[in-house]
Symmetry: C2
Subunit: 360 residues, 2 copies
Amino acid sequence: MSTLRSRPNLSDIAAALGVSVATVSNAMSGKGRVSTELIEKIRKTAAEIGYIPSFPGKALRTGRSGVLGLVLADIVHPLFPQIAQAVEFAAANCGYGVLIADSRGDTATQADAINRLLERGADGLVVVPRRGTRIGDIGRPVVVIDSPSTPGNTVAADHWNGGQQIARHLLSHGHRRFVIIGGSSTSNVQNDRVGGIRSSLPTDAASEVIWIEGIEQSKAKGCDLDLAAKARQGFTAFCAVSDLHALRALMELQRGGVAVPEEASVTGFDDLIWSPVVTPGLTTMRMDMATIAEIAIARLIDAIEAEGRGPDDDVASSEIHSSNISHDISAADVSSVPMQLVVRQSSGRAPVHQRSIQEE
Amino acid sequence: MSTLRSRPNLSDIAAALGVSVATVSNAMSGKGRVSTELIEKIRKTAAEIGYIPSFPGKALRTGRSGVLGLVLADIVHPLFPQIAQAVEFAAANCGYGVLIADSRGDTATQADAINRLLERGADGLVVVPRRGTRIGDIGRPVVVIDSPSTPGNTVAADHWNGGQQIARHLLSHGHRRFVIIGGSSTSNVQNDRVGGIRSSLPTDAASEVIWIEGIEQSKAKGCDLDLAAKARQGFTAFCAVSDLHALRALMELQRGGVAVPEEASVTGFDDLIWSPVVTPGLTTMRMDMATIAEIAIARLIDAIEAEGRGPDDDVASSEIHSSNISHDISAADVSSVPMQLVVRQSSGRAPVHQRSIQEE
DNA sequence: CTGTTTTGATTAACCGTTTAATCACCTAGC
DNA sequence: GCTAGGTGATTAAACGGTTAATCAAAACAG
């Protein structure tokens, strides 16, 4: 029947070999009882006629779409390419597709976006939330990326430790007076990074935190942050918690006649795409997005597969306090993936005159 | 039967009202013949019990998944967030989902990525191709974004005209000696932009094109482009065909003691996320991604829907030379969407001393 | 009052796959 | 020789929605 028109299906294979569809299905999935030689033959003819399993068919029967939803809630997140690429790669490796939904920075739209994905039958969701947003129970497995302070099942870079690493790097180069530059004080990620930096400073070091959003509210958007003045006051290390802010600092200092890295060091976070090409190349902390995505996807798929069977099954799970009602991702915890220091030309040894200032 | 367990389906509604599933289906889709009051009742109970149509079910029957594939072939394309967001938005507005696949810059993987999407049942593909790559016939509707010189069904920004606009902007500010900075001479997009710029220069203007990739091959990666020297030779306009290169030029000039925009103007392309925040803010050409995506998606969906019926049907299409074999997107042509000039602080009036140099 | 059309709804097949239940057959045990 | 058990395959019923074909009743024309 279905000779020319549509793509080959199980019954085409069955017909070609004179066996039943069920047998073919069993042979392909390795589930039922099929003789080894028949399996071999079926595999062969399947390949010959170019059989491709139908996802809708499978989805309809099993209730699993084989698709994960990726919800991007932050406007045009500069890390999006990295995240999307890593998530898609990890998912594809596990045989899953990735459906995207962007909520364009609007918190209200975030719910819509999530719903769109659920209606489409996404088996689980990866959410990169808008800051401050919490993801409620949506009746399907969810994993959150990027803000470790978020409650729930979260995978994130170890931002705190990242802050510590960058601080230690600068300390080891003799810096003692730090300006820490953040965007918004409401961001969990940024607070973690700032906290990590400050926690690593010894008692003989001084630091000052600048929140750009705050300054821009009192002054103008894109206004001067008076960093050159800070440099003249003796600050030598300018740690931004994002490459975006680091770039801004870098340019402001250079325009203000402060040479980088000779007179001041500038560091960032995230290793964005252009960070290597600016002059001087930006010293920054890179998140291991591949690992983060891998862990996130692995967890998600675990949860999805655990969902099918009840609270207990063949896995001989050890003494679960089976709370039948709550979706038992109750082992929800936070995974932290270490960040990696990338040293480029924007950071260097603190200028000698610093000591004198510091001792004044 | 299916009371508590799974989500409600058509037969639940049918059972609740004592009608047949077919009637309910007709009522929801508005296809068959159903009395207006019954439609009303069905809609109401559907909403009450929280009915959500099953995509797999529909897909299985109709052969349409309601999903488009977005193939990103260029490594970590800086425009990706813009593209993805616009495409997703446009697709969602038409009731389609977007499945992504990244080929991580590898040309070979691009075919894999496309296949993954097709196997998953994507109804059509939006491809942002790696430069130079051609997309062969894949048996489903395809639309290509971003390189107007690519043969086939393409939607792109009018890069050539963008080049003309930026050139006119600089000319009107008195600039006469141009350095045009490109990345790779193999890129269609970049060549279009360069061509647009040069085509607009009057005979009394001088221009020189620099391809960064070429320079870096003979020198080192991230090496100096000697732009400050060019400025001293009397060049006042530095037109990069990407904000990435513009940023690099901007920093190099500033480091070399050339004030921007007082002594030289720098312009870019694409209005990337950080372009407003650098100092001085970058004058650049923005592509209207929303419109591009809208057109691309509209075309794709047209092609998908036309695919179902034969070469002719109810649409009374005028005299088609029905070539039954080729997938009849044969009306394949190129749409160009105008670019928009964004003037910021990095461009300004040409310094006066230029005239003297020019007249020497 | 009869024959035809229109309207509103039903029936049943189908899309491609999975899976529990069943069955025919062969081997072994006593 | 008859039964119990195992093996390799088949049957048939879903999963949820669409749609062509059918049908009963009502509306209408003559």
